[in-house]
Amino acid sequence: MTTTTSPVTDPAAKGLRENSTFDKLTIAAIRKAAATGLYDIRGGGAKRKVPHFDDLLFLGASMSRYPLEGYRERCDTDVWLGTRYAKKPLHLKTPVTIAGMSFGSLSAQAKEALGRGASEVGTSTTSGDGGMTEEERTHSKTLVYQYLPSRYGMNPRHLRMGDAIEVVLGQGAKPGGGGMLLGQKITERVAAMRTLPVGIDQRSACRHPDWTGPDDLRIKILELREITEWEKPVYVKIGASRPYYDVMLAIKAGADAVVLDGMQGGTAATQDVFIEHVGIPTLAAIPQAVEALQEAGMHREVQLIVSGGIRSGADVAKALALGADAVSIGTAALIALGDNDPALEGEYNKIGSSAGYYDDWQAGQDPAGITTQDPELSKRLDPVAGGHRLANLLRVMTMEAQIIARACGKAHLLHLEPEDLVALTIEAAAMTKRPLAGTDWIPGQAGSQAGSL
């Protein structure tokens, strides 16, 4: 029998209406700011829903195009990066690479696992803000060495030991922002690598110390090439905000490849307000970047590597179809290593979180041993097993992309093209200039008759 007092678990049933402007999360944030005087810092990327790859669909082969036989007919996945100027461009077996994540934000075990997993499937890993570690160099067959504003641990020996150089201008999670690593994670080893006192909150600069602007960048790239004998591909990484102009300027500055990171891209530690309100979605950024490459006559010559919210082979295929040459994953790779594992639910609860929600990557208490410098916690991650799980994920993502490519009749992942795609939402149609599914309508294009045939 029902009682007269209904449970408070469903306020709406009592006629209580949640305010959509001041919803529960907003109220909690205001209360927290008022109580502590602190803004929220966290890891991960934008949580709000933004137009994304889910808003695109592939048009499989039909009468006018024929598909390739699944598993039988070849669909190649290899990719060359750095073919413009580098004497030794990278040749990867899959276009899915591992994004730069610093030692410091990640444990040494996590860095080793990333190296092992990537090497197992023939792709690259990337260092990060904090320098190159033995663990990663030893276990990563192909290592991209990041050159960041902080220059923590930057030295010419490591520059020469890298297989490519990535000049970092920004990250999708925080275009225009520098890095931060809170005191809890500045252990003796991390501090020594960064030449900083132990236990301080480390703020890394948002601008490079010795150059500003594209003309300077051109000379900086020249210097890096001189020091490394013109052997290594030089990437330029940008956070997605004005991708058309940034990509154009990166091309002019002499980049071999551009890494474009959208707002869903993860970070180790950034202010929530920055993550959620600065930058544009990956989906919105890719077409602008490709437009710049095409206008400069450099599409496929200067490779485009896209990151920010890539989770599956479908996302990979869609990024490539829009014109990217490769993608990078950060968050998905950490999940493969064991981040947010439901088996750790009890431990997440103890630190005020829950499996699937854990994003206090700045705090250094990660029960999975990934985003921590605590020696006991770090030991929980077995780099061999973690590396193998990552290799599995990379294989699945590559195979899923192949499944889609074959269905579209493509013998190489890089043959995927915009014509293979339609949009599911008006926003995605406007951003990608692909017609809304089932129509020939592209918002913003008068009388558009673009071929969805």
Partner: protein, 196 residues
Amino acid sequence: MKNPEGAHAIAVGLDQAIDVLVEGHVGYFAAGMNEQATVTITGNAGQGVAENMMSGRVHVKGSASQSAGATAHGGLLIIDGDATARCGISMKGADIVVGGSVGHMSAFMAQAGRLVICGDAGDGLGDSIYEARLYVKGQVSSLGADCIEKEMRPEHLTELAELLALAGRPEQPGEFRRYGSARQLYNFHIDNVDAY
């Protein structure tokens, strides 16, 4: 090397104990990332001279543009003339001796090493400085966030005398003042919000 005519990235990435003499003016990043080598530039140097030097010695007989010795980890950079903005920015262990004055935001976020300024320093000296030590003989227009004047103890006079001697400077250590980090911004605190 003669008549570099302002070329960029001259003598970068040297990694042997050799002597290099550059007669004339150089462009950006001259002697960048130097290891072990001794590089002498008789003219002026463009932006980022000896940036990220690891060891060795770079001597600019003229003046230097912005970001001289940026992020340098080791070695000695001597500038006989002036250096402009951001001299020693983000320095990580090198020693820099400037015969003349430096521009604004010098030693910004300087992490380690020593910067000796025989002339004046522009605005915001040592802003957000970590553990680097700054010695200035002339006027300081203003100090940046978390940078304060500190007591000149005997060990500081000794190290300063050594640096001046290495750089062949006539100044006396007693004429300088010392600046460094107040270490108030090392861990975020809401009460320091005005400084952020």
